[in-house]
């Protein structure tokens, strides 16, 4: 069993790592990491803009965005992926690479979920912080940027990270539209070996677990560092009892 796994890794590590590259498109783990990183990097600012739009006093901005968020959150991701895969080329006539389709869909879908997290973080702060900012003459955008968002995002780090983790896991769905990622590579390996599906997909599971666990771990460290700075432990003041940073891990 262990021998099988080691043998598979020895034979196929390059395929699992970079797919058919350089003879074909970049794939494997490299592509999974790129897709995950891009999705997260784009979904995060998108989610902040969606959250701000949903809290806007302008109805013309608030209503369409609210509708978008509700609809996106209310349908399965797989269905959204298939929709964009089949319908976007039909509507636009353009030949969109499946990687781009997957990335866009993930950004919209996770952006919608994350925007609810961000919005909840802002709302949970209460009105006192905004009142104070306005009383000092800050514009609403300035108040958001320097006063509200730094606190709201910090408070929501655990939920934000679990959304990031599920974004990484959702990249596997790219398999259905032939995005050449790690899952795709693993299934190619499985098709060649035919007799060892357990071993192949065990490797797959371990790799995904390692990626998601590392992200959670890094987030833990970051959060603890901010908490410590705020408690003033680096400023030489009286130590304040540290609340251990918790990362919601039910998604792991």
């Amino acid at each position: 069993m262990i021998h099988d796994i080691i043998a598979i890794i020895q034979d196929y590590w390059l395929l699992l790592l970079i797919g058919q590259y350089p003879n074909g498109p970049l794939g494997g783990l490299a592509n999974t990491l790129i897709l995950s990183a891009l999705s997260i990097a784009l979904a995060f600012p998108v989610s902040i803009m969606l959250a701000l739009a949903r809290l806007s006093k302008w109805r013309l901005l608030r209503w369409p965005v609210t509708a978008l968020v509700y609809i996106t959150r209310g349908v399965p991701l797989l269905m959204l992926i298939l929709w964009s895969y089949f319908l976007v080329p039909l509507w636009t006539g353009a030949d969109v690479p499946s990687f781009v389709t997957m990335l866009t869909t993930l950004v919209v879908y996770q952006g919608a979920f994350l925007s609810e997290v961000v919005r909840a973080g802002i709302v949970a702060l209460g009105s006192g912080q905004m009142d104070a900012a306005r009383a000092l003459g800050h514009s609403s955008l300035g108040a958001m940027r320097f006063i509200i968002l730094p606190q709201a995002l910090y408070n929501m780090i655990p939920s934000i990270i679990s959304t990031f983790v599920s974004t990484i896991k959702d990249t596997t769905l790219g398999y259905v539209i032939n995005v050449p990622d790690l899952t795709f590579a693993a299934s190619q390996v499985n098709n060649q070996l035919l007799t060892q599906p357990f071993q192949v997909f065990f490797i797959l599971a371990v790799v995904y677990y390692a990626i998601c666990w590392s992200l959670t771990h890094v987030a833990n460290i970051v959060e603890r560092r901010i908490t410590r700075r705020r408690a003033g432990l680096s400023g030489g003041a009286a130590p304040v009892e540290l609340v251990p940073a918790k990362i919601i891990s039910e998604q792991l």
Partner: protein, 255 residues
């Protein structure tokens, strides 16, 4: 009063005329007429729910009004204006909240210096030095690098006062600045407010601290059910309140 209209015009800083505000059907402020002269200290008192917070929050437009006008040095605060103009106007009216509302993610000195930097465009080092001076003035120079969460309530409120002063407002508003404090911390905050008053700051304070009102206020506004029922100098207000509801309010306070 024998002062002429022209003289009043000259010394007046804040003027409220016929200010009405309601939440739905419920009228919170009814035809408020009042003015505050430059350098004057006004204490607003009245029973809970009478509209004190609402009134003071309309003065820097944290609350909108339904009709009437509020002017600061002749400029109508509630006129239609660009948000930039309103922000500028707000920055000239210091506000101190009951719950301090310090920014917990910023150190004490950053709390004080960030608004001059971000709103007024003051250079960071200049704002920082100024913040340290203000913190010294409220007796917290040694806490500059601490975070709000590490301070006592009284210390937090003094930081909040320094933060408001950093914008160099000609007027300061206080909404029950000592109500959220443990009794032993009330004095330190009132002392800062007293020193501000003695330096000639125009102040409007909602407070239940009648000792402070007696010592510092130039005038008391007694407000009940959204109306200013009586305005009088403190010695007069406390000795011979005219309005029956003011009499009852003072009697209740003494018990």
């Amino acid at each position: 009063m024998s002062t002429s209209a022209a003289e009043i015009q000259q010394v007046q800083t804040i003027r409220l005329s016929d200010v009405c505000k309601s939440y739905g059907d419920y009228a919170v402020l009814k035809n408020i007429e009042a003015e505050v002269a430059r350098g004057e200290v006004v204490v607003i008192c009245g029973p809970s729910g009478s509209g004190k917070s609402t009134l003071i929050r309309t003065i820097n437009r944290l609350e909108e009004i339904n009709s009437g006008s509020i002017t600061l040095d002749g400029q109508n605060i509630h006129a239609a204006m660009r948000t930039r103009e309103l922000n500028l106007l707000r920055s000239r009216i210091g506000f101190v909240f009951q719950n301090f509302n310090l920014f917990p993610h910023l150190s004490v000195v950053e709390n004080v210096s960030m608004s001059p930097i971000r709103v007024k465009g003051v250079a960071a080092d200049v704002a920082h030095d100024k913040a340290l001076k203000l913190l010294d003035r409220v007796g917290l120079a040694d806490k500059a690098r601490a975070y709000p969460g590490q301070l006592s309530g009284g210390q937090q409120q003094r930081v909040a006062i320094a933060r408001a002063l950093a914008m160099e407002p000609p007027v300061m508003l206080f909404d029950e600045p000592t109500s959220a404090l443990d009794p032993e911390m009330v004095g330190e905050v009132l002392a800062v407010m007293k020193s501000l008053a003695s330096e000639g700051m125009t102040m409007i304070c909602v407070t239940h601290e009648m000792g402070f009102a007696r010592d510092v206020a130039d005038r008391i506004w007694f407000i009940d059910a959204g109306q200013i029922l009586e305005t009088a100098p403190p010695e007069e207000f406390f000795k011979t309140p005219r309005h029956p509801r003011a009499q009852r309010f003072l009697a209740d306070l003494r018990h």
